[in-house]
Amino acid sequence: MIPAQFQYAAPASIPDAIALLKSNPDAKILSGGQSLIPLMKFRLAQPAMIVDLNNIGGLDYIREQGGWLKIGALARESELEDSALVREKYPLLYDTTLSVADPIVRNRATLAGNLAHADPANDHPATMLAYRAQVVATGTSGNRTIAIDDFFQGLFATALASDEILSEVQIPAPVARSGGAYFKMERKVGDFATAGVAVQLNLDASGKIEQIGIGLTNVGLQALRAKRSEDALRGEMPDAKWIERAAMFAQEDCEPNADLRGGVEYKRNLVRVLTMRAIEKAVARARGNG
């Protein structure tokens, strides 16, 4: 399949890229391209111009700084997968990365692109909701930070302006007794989630849940925060009764559509089961035996 014609630019710096975006409001940003290029081949996307970020140096970092894990726009999924820091300290992010597409796609795909594309079927948006992450948008007038809850604005829609680049993802460094997990049901490697659930939490000294974030993948027009489930568990001991109750709320509050992957009732039930499993795994990891 051949995409429609477009103009191609591969600027060497972020300011150059922003200048191009500013003078070409219909331009699309290309990072990994593993979602955008297939869409262009199907001609679901026909951008007049492609601004390829791949020639910009120094954007592939993964580092902790000032209480945040900071991930540059061009850090590939495979680099997250190979990062000892991510594997040991950010198990929710590690789980999620491993469930994105397949190993070859992950060699090219980026976390920032996964978020900026804002496909409700993508895995990282729910995980970023669970982490209460934030993103840095770089535009003509500098950087602004956007909380993840304000970032997703519906199907394929984000808070980014047409001349802004998602330059960095920031995940809060976990406090003591933290744990997280991502559970995804997929029909086969490389498929989008039938449903997915991301959980990040921490326990207080007495073992009660102090803070918890729960994000849901592909059961709504955007990644959803399971707010009632979070509220139900905050301040409680993570025992079976409370976990089941929180999972029931997630089942009720998600908004799945029927498709080839399953009907609405099936998906709701799946969300309930995956929510229980993800909470249990997150709690086990927070207790240091995950």
Binding site: Q5, D52, D102
Partner: protein, 158 residues
Amino acid sequence: MNVTININGKEYSDDVEPRLLLVHFIRENANLTGTHVGCDTTSCGACTVLVDGVPMKSCTMFAVQANGKSITTVEGLAQNGKLAPIQEGFHEKHGLQCGFCTPGMMLTSVAFLKKNPHPSEEEIRWAISGNLCRCTGYVNIVEAVQYAAEKMAEAQNG
């Protein structure tokens, strides 16, 4: 746009449209037809090539993005008329039936074995999970990769 891409040690230059996919540059501009187009939707991995040593799906990259880069395709695996260990493995272990997925399988495996020279069966299956074999001959493909790993270890110790 003018691009110059090094494929298997040889430079290929051409004036191409930005929308030309890398796989089409390899097959039609460089006339190296060992790289296959399978699903054309980033799923099957038949078009996998190494870009600066890293496996990529060449149907999901524009040729202009490979400007100045070094590509390895299946035609670049054998050296001086001698099959690479991975090719020998696919031959010895009957790792192919129709052969359509084989170039992608081999290139993914070459990069994987460089990273993980002594993999378990599970690690091999995980590594090739982005390459689909519609003949479903995965058992022999895994054995072919294991064969190559052993051959390479022998050569190193030998």
